[in-house]
Symmetry: C3
Subunit: 350 residues, 3 copies
Amino acid sequence: MALSDVLPDEDPTLTLGELATLVGGELKGDPLTRVTGLGTLERATPSQISFLANPRYRAQLSTTQAAAVLMKPEDAVGYEGQAVLLANPYLAFAQLTHRFDRTPRPAVGVHASAVIARSARLGEGVRIGPQVVIGEDVVIGARVIIESGSVIHDRVHVGDDCVIRSRVVIHHDCHLGQRVSIQSGAVIGGDGFGFAPARGAWHKIAQIGAVILHDDVDIGVNTTIDRGALEDTVIHTGAIIDNQVQIAHNVVIGAHTAIAACCGIAGSTRIGAHCVLAGGVGVVGHIEICDRVQITGMSMITKSITEPGSYSSGTAFDSTDNWKKMAVRLRRLDELAQRVRALEDATDQS
Amino acid sequence: MALSDVLPDEDPTLTLGELATLVGGELKGDPLTRVTGLGTLERATPSQISFLANPRYRAQLSTTQAAAVLMKPEDAVGYEGQAVLLANPYLAFAQLTHRFDRTPRPAVGVHASAVIARSARLGEGVRIGPQVVIGEDVVIGARVIIESGSVIHDRVHVGDDCVIRSRVVIHHDCHLGQRVSIQSGAVIGGDGFGFAPARGAWHKIAQIGAVILHDDVDIGVNTTIDRGALEDTVIHTGAIIDNQVQIAHNVVIGAHTAIAACCGIAGSTRIGAHCVLAGGVGVVGHIEICDRVQITGMSMITKSITEPGSYSSGTAFDSTDNWKKMAVRLRRLDELAQRVRALEDATDQS
Amino acid sequence: MALSDVLPDEDPTLTLGELATLVGGELKGDPLTRVTGLGTLERATPSQISFLANPRYRAQLSTTQAAAVLMKPEDAVGYEGQAVLLANPYLAFAQLTHRFDRTPRPAVGVHASAVIARSARLGEGVRIGPQVVIGEDVVIGARVIIESGSVIHDRVHVGDDCVIRSRVVIHHDCHLGQRVSIQSGAVIGGDGFGFAPARGAWHKIAQIGAVILHDDVDIGVNTTIDRGALEDTVIHTGAIIDNQVQIAHNVVIGAHTAIAACCGIAGSTRIGAHCVLAGGVGVVGHIEICDRVQITGMSMITKSITEPGSYSSGTAFDSTDNWKKMAVRLRRLDELAQRVRALEDATDQS
């Protein structure tokens, strides 16, 4: 038996006509043109299809070699080349990428080297790779993919069509909805950082909550989501979380919120729906951020946010020499403000 | 053989009388009340016990459904409900969580799929899960738990009662004291980042020190602690380190210091005892931080600290529009200060 | 069969004469002096060799117990002890560390518990440890070391003399040159964070590029390097990347650039050659940083950099009390600047 089903069975190439039908677009060009792949406007070969989603790349239309370009009708005005016209070319491009994706899947069934507890229940069509460990009373839904070396602890529930990449750990009693995707190295349901201080030492608080990942949640590589202390840590439907993000115990993330790489969310904080946190953002514990908040990269959020909008902290970068002068002045900013006040008083009196 | 001993053998439920004895508290209420779990004041059910540790939750006493509340005697004045009175209710709560903890343990013994070097010595009562790898001349103490997929390299020493969760790596020659806990995905003793520059290229310096984790140290998920270059990296007794923390080679962390998630400590820095670093703090290399220092979240510490106390860096967050104005002004702060000086000179002369 | 070849076959000890020849230095002292290890000037024992690379440690020459000291000829003037004189003592020290390195290597061959696809091709002298998984059509070069629990997915190419430590994941179609080193827990070729927004939800874009690591690249513990969306993510020759670094899809890192721990580089950014990023630096996406740029710790780089030199952002740390005053003033900096302008106007008029 092969380790994996290397490629989709079907040939991924298609004609431009088939492609237009697939994405629901209007074809401007020869429906028999052969499409063998995808490329950027700048680098696509004559058998690849490309897309124009961001107007700033419009100038590349005049030089692109692409077989055809996915674009909005209004962008195609005056464009001579072949095109597929539709309202959301970026979404169409996203759909097409899956056609050309060569990610191997473990072969259907359970690899001989996997260790599966007798009480675990596996759905139909599961693909469980080498060295996977599945604990007691685990439930794995239909068509779930679990790659090499992942560990699913006792009583975890994995919904239908989830994809669990390599060397993931899901600790006991966590619950995944349907179509949840977890990238390699992520750890779901590790112990939260809970300790009671007494007599100069720290006493561990067992973390008896779990983690709930609702449908269509996407978790990045080496990201860590801690189990709740008493209640659960919850990530709502369709939230997407990038690599090396840390989500502490009892955090709640709203539906369709996006959290970029290297963010850290401290314990018991609640983030609303449709928020976007850029990379490296830190959010302190026990606060609430409302729906539709954007936070720019590496900002530190120390208080609740109750109004939608964009928020930032930090300083702009500069040459280290200029930055040092600024930093010295900054430490004396309070004094400077007092001197301005004194000048104002002097001016008023004069 | 089952993969795990799913639950503590005993029924975790107990009476309020037994509970008061267990935590050494004074019972105000019916000793026969049945307690089946733990909950927050806000959400505890009538068979769960709760606790009041932070006065800010005092108002919830009037509405809680909890079977009883762990609290200080002074907080119980005027409280009509059932209570267990003691000096440190949060510590008592911490003790009770272990009673209701359902973390599965690998079955006693060595799982058939584990690979154990012939020269390794295993203490009595060890629980070694599936796919674990234990190298040559490793010593594993009594009652140690090692979960699935962890790798313990040659000559590592693991003291009695340590708990090593899933997919941990401990590299060669590292030493763990007793009751050390390492969460999933952590890597202890990877190579430090040591390279000698020559002729425009980097030449690797083999890292021939190790990592010493003293008794009762707690290491978080996906945290990385590098081995020393020549001498050892050392974490002293009872220090607790959260998830995704990076500790570079030759760092020394003092006893009972707490380091929250996403901190990074650069090489050869020494941090004292009883310090607390909030999340995302960065500390540069080759400095010393004395005992009992607190550092607030996402601060950058660039020089030694010789006085206990609290330290911070960064800026407060604001709406991105306001923040941009601030950031522009900040780049011209030196110029602003010079203009204030000029005004002062002008005012003095007038 | 032993799990590992525990130690280099040869006795690591050597004479001072042999050592001087090995590093190409001029010996001042007894060539028969026995050297059994390496130590710092401060702590070396009389059978260990030490080095003086940084003039700030020069004073320690008078008290060191070291058998001999690697140093520059100009630093040896007036030094009475034994020495090995050469132009780059730190490089010589780096060379010697490998002599005393005790890192175990998996035994030559393939461990019985490893799972190797039939179509994989293994070079001569490979050392493949327990629980390793190697997918279909993988090519592993000569003398490659792969430690326990690592997963190499389909069609990956690993060049000669690469070292892949424990529990590494390399996803499909990635390409490693020669002598690439990947520390434990790193994940190469995970999916980039690419989603198309439509109707309030995120639609995954399959990541069909790969990761290319050129010769002599060094990747740290738990570091994550995402595969490209359409084209590849590329790390050029001799770049060194520390622990817990996140490199997003389509990033290009130039040759011999060093990136310290906890940095995050967002998608499609290009960093030049011979750059140095200190720990915790964040770089936004879609920008370019030219060759020979240094960035100080925890800086946030938000725009392209076209001039070599050193760059910084952030604020200096202070006591939290002082910092709070500063932070309050800072939020009103725009107002303060306007007040200074008003004073200047008033002064001009007077």
